[in-house]
């Protein structure tokens, strides 16, 4: 990969950072021992597909997150690419998510109407955005500390990172899982072998 691509990947931001991609250093702490096969059950995968479908539903233009099986993708990512700490946030979050939904609507997420589902997620998302302002400040401070540390000869400063809200995880995994799936790639008009480059295409 050339540096230009690297820049665009550094800028790979979804209201925060892709989880599992920026936790390189903190990923080195603690054991990574959750049993791979048992972390997300088939029922949970279906459940997460429904949550994902609410974030990225089927439209006239393209299939939705359920068709892309983002639930299955979440299982893979949480199992292999999440730190133990983030796995814990994710699983506790799933319980909290269902609990909060029941408290709000008097029924579980799967029994909510599409309008209720969407409304519920919008509420969660608003909360995440609010908290993000605070977290951004901390990350900025920590980035400065890392730089100072590196400048003084310590390359591996362990940055304090604010805990990632579980809903951010679910939303990011949905987006990443969807748009990197075959369905997602097709939705953006991906051509596997373009054969040429045209730097000025004007729509007809």
């Amino acid at each position: 990969m050339d540096r230009r691509t690297a820049i665009s990947r550094v800028a790979f931001i979804l209201g925060g950072t892709i989880i599992g991609a920026d936790l390189f250093i903190s990923g080195c702490t603690g054991d990574h021992t959750i049993d791979a096969q048992n972390i997300l059950t088939d029922a949970q995968i279906s459940y997460l597909n429904e949550v994902g479908e609410t974030i990225l539903p089927k439209t006239a233009a393209s299939e939705g997150a359920k068709a892309a099986n983002v639930g299955q993708f979440m299982k893979t990512m949480v199992r292999d690419c999440y730190t133990t700490e983030n796995q814990h946030i994710f699983f506790t979050g799933l319980t909290d998510f269902e609990g909060l939904c029941k408290k709000t609507y008097g029924k579980g997420f799967l029994n909510c109407s599409p309008i209720e589902k969407k409304e519920f997620l919008i509420t969660l998302d608003a909360k995440v955005k609010e908290d993000k302002k605070r977290d951004d400040l901390l990350q900025q401070t920590e980035a400065e500390k890392e730089k100072t540390s590196q400048a003084s000869g310590k390359p591996n400063y362990i940055k304090k990172t604010p805990p990632v809200p579980y809903f951010t995880m679910i939303r990011q995994l949905t987006l990443l899982g969807y748009f990197t799936s075959e369905i997602g790639y097709k939705s953006i008009g991906y051509v596997p072998v373009p054969g040429r480059y045209d730097g000025d295409v004007t729509k007809i």
């Binding site: 690297a6 979804l14 893979t76």
Partner: protein, 559 residues
């Protein structure tokens, strides 16, 4: 020919090793190429290059296990699911950081030639003469005229695309048609040219990707998936280019899993007679003999091989008599630049994925430009439209959100600077005799840092980047400087420099080790200064030149 005896031995199979093997075998020399890692066969071993991106289990992310095993690779963008198998196992092959040093290695056939950024620029006499003019370090023993025909030669074979820009400080070459700039970049190029009165240029990146087919290789398909290994052979690598040519001569033997532990030196003849290797799989020791030896193990490991050779005569190893072996290590410092957003091009789109972007060649300390630091820097960058990963204000959930993300977002532009690092004697690598690798061999200790000149330059790099974007009408201009640990530019150079005097250099003007004239070092180790352009093309040219010289010397009976 006796068993285990060849005309030539090449240590390493990366960009310069591949060239050495191609040139020497092409001249009829029976050549043994030694690679310390695994075989990595063109196309067949490209695990992901032929897969669709959605077939990657983690869609590019690395696992916690990989993050723990490869902490150095995870210091930057090199960590990606597609290429993790290509990076050196950090547990088996550790190194010591006296000062922070990021060393991204690939111990496999082809070395980093399958992974490289492919940017290919010539040096000019502004670069070759800089040390002498400033009285800095030592003079290069060659000038542009010595290397120019060899640039021609390697460009034609490797396939370098670019435009003839007519810049004396970035000489034109034997180019295939350029990879084009997009409409936004063309617009900005015009604005810069006008504003800076033709003193600054935004040009097509010159890149080792084929924009036209050359014999045996298909042209670039604009997938932008080079480093996964290209099933089309669309870019230059050992595998796609030099290795098939060397194999076709019938003169090449390749031996993977061969860690060269030392060059065997005959002190009476003052010549090397061969190499000793450790088989990385069986731990068996073998000896191979040859008339000439090319050391192309990558800058730091080439120095390592020399440091471990002829230690009974020179404590610091072969080539250490000058006191410069392992010293003067350089890199290009980067991880800084500027970005911003572009207005007015919303109706313009892009088709295809380029393997390069634009390049802004050096302008500092040239043609009357004077700075409070010496030398210069260039920028690599690109303009593009945001992808699905962008944030859309007030729209985070639902069908409208999804449909909006499937369309390209707004245009933006980013560029990152690459600055020259001066050779400093005190920036060095040494053997750490306390720490051993998996095979019980001593490891390298890195003790190098940026100094005042580089630090001053970094301030100018971000400032000038922001200035240029500003005058070009770019909005929301931001600068960044994430700091630079030595090595992070992946352009390690200088650990066995060329020179005119055996008292101050390790190699002469033909890349021969002064103390063993049949040993040639033609990778980054040989560099006397670093310039600010990507160095691999220069290694190719120096290697082809040295091979030609070595062959002629052999014929004359001088080696």
């Amino acid at each position: 020919m006796a068993e285990n005896t060849y005309d030539a031995i090449v240590i390493g199979s990366g960009i310069s090793g591949g060239w050495a093997a191609k040139e020497l075998t092409g001249k009829g020399l029976k050549t043994l190429m030694l690679e310390r890692g695994r075989n990595y066969e063109h196309i067949k071993d490209y695990k992901y290059g032929t897969k669709q991106p959605w077939e990657f289990e983690h869609r590019g992310s690395t696992t916690i296990e990989q993050q723990q095993k490869y902490p150095v690779i995870h210091r930057g963008w090199a960590a990606n699911e597609a290429v993790m198998d290509c990076w050196t196992n950090e547990q088996d092959s550790p190194y010591t950081e006296i000062k922070p040093f990021t060393w991204w290695r690939s111990y496999q056939l082809g070395g980093r030639s399958t992974l490289w950024g492919r940017q290919s620029y010539r040096w000019s006499d502004f670069d070759f003469e800089a040390n002498a003019k400033e009285g800095w370090a030592i003079d290069w023993p060659i000038r542009y005229k010595d290397i120019s025909p060899w640039y021609d030669y390697v460009e034609k074979f490797a396939g370098i695309s670019g435009a003839k820009d007519g810049l004396p400080h970035l000489p034109d070459g034997q180019f295939l048609p350029p990879v084009s700039l997009n409409i936004v970049e063309k617009d900005i190029a015009e604005r810069l040219k006008k504003h800076y009165k033709n003193q600054r240029h935004l040009i097509n990146g010159r890149v080792a990707n084929l924009t036209a087919a050359i014999p045996g290789r298909t042209k670039c398909q604009f997938r932008d998936r080079c480093w996964e290994g290209c099933p089309f052979g669309g870019y230059f690598s050992t595998q796609s280019s030099t290795l098939p040519a060397a194999v076709a001569t019938g003169n090449l033997t390749v031996r993977p899993w061969s860690i060269v532990t030392r060059i065997i030196y005959d002190k009476d003849k003052k010549r090397a007679t061969g190499v000793e290797i450790l088989d990385a799989q069986t731990n068996q020791t073998y000896t191979y003999h040859a008339k000439i030896i090319f050391v192309n193990a990558s800058s730091l490991n080439s120095a390592w091989v020399l440091m471990n050779s002829a230690t009974d005569i020179w404590e610091g190893g072969l080539g250490s008599s000058s006191g410069e072996l392992g010293h003067n290590i350089m890199d290009h410092h980067y991880n800084l630049g500027a970005s911003g957003s572009i207005e007015g091009f919303d109706d313009h789109f892009i088709y295809g994925r380029r393997p390069t972007g634009f390049y802004i060649p050096r302008f500092s300390n040239l043609y009357g430009d004077k700075r409070e630091f010496t030398r210069g820097f260039g920028y690599q960058g690109g303009a593009s439209r945001d992808s699905w990963s962008r944030e859309i204000a007030e729209l985070n959930i639902g069908g409208d959100f999804k449909d909006a993300l499937t369309n390209p977002g707004s245009w933006n532009i980013g560029m990152t600077g690459f600055g020259e690092i001066l050779p400093y004697h005190e920036n060095k690598i040494t053997l750490d005799l306390q720490k051993k690798d998996k095979w019980g061999l001593p490891v390298l200790a890195m003790d190098a840092e940026l100094k005042d000149n580089e630090k001053k330059m970094r301030i100018a790099i971000t400032m000038e980047a922001a200035n240029m974007l500003d005058v070009a009408g770019v909005k929301n201009v931001n600068t960044w400087d994430s700091g630079h640990a030595m090595g992070h530019g992946i352009h390690e150079m200088g650990t066995a420099r060329m020179g005119l005097d055996p008292k101050t250099s390790v190699l002469n003007q033909h890349n021969q080790v002064w103390d063993a004239l049949n040993v040639f070092v033609t990778d980054g180790a040989c560099m006397t200064s670093s310039a600010c352009v990507n160095p691999s093309l220069t290694y190719m040219a120096l290697t082809a030149r040295a091979c030609d010289f070595a062959y002629n010397e052999l014929k004359k009976g001088n080696l």
